[in-house]
Symmetry: C2
Subunit: 80 residues, 2 copies
Amino acid sequence: MKVRVTVSLKEGVLDPQGKAIGHALHVLGFDEVGEVRVGKVIELDLADEDAAKAEARARAMAEQLLANQVIEDFAVEVVK
Amino acid sequence: MKVRVTVSLKEGVLDPQGKAIGHALHVLGFDEVGEVRVGKVIELDLADEDAAKAEARARAMAEQLLANQVIEDFAVEVVK
């Protein structure tokens, strides 16, 4: 079972990497770019056959390791 | 218009960050974890009102800056 965990900075947390990308896009002429936010996507191959169980386990992994919940939110999605 | 660009390593390209996460998850007792791959997700606020144009522009940004197409693939998705 393939599960995707998306980790993104919470609203209001400064994102210097996003700011740098936004600046670089402006320099390249992409003037329509406003705010840019950068996150991580972690794709996990799990041995679980059951989608609900795989999602619950991935959620536990995100809470314990993948996301720093002080500054980050995460979303879990079963891909297949 | 909000556009999400997901950048991931091509198949066959070594992903040491993914390997490290997989190892850490095993140490934490998540034995069902197989391969782990880590990518980036870049959320862009674009001034374009037209979804097709926003997607085309985001694709150009990915080709010119956001993805290194030698080792990375990207996907563009209009969120709203």
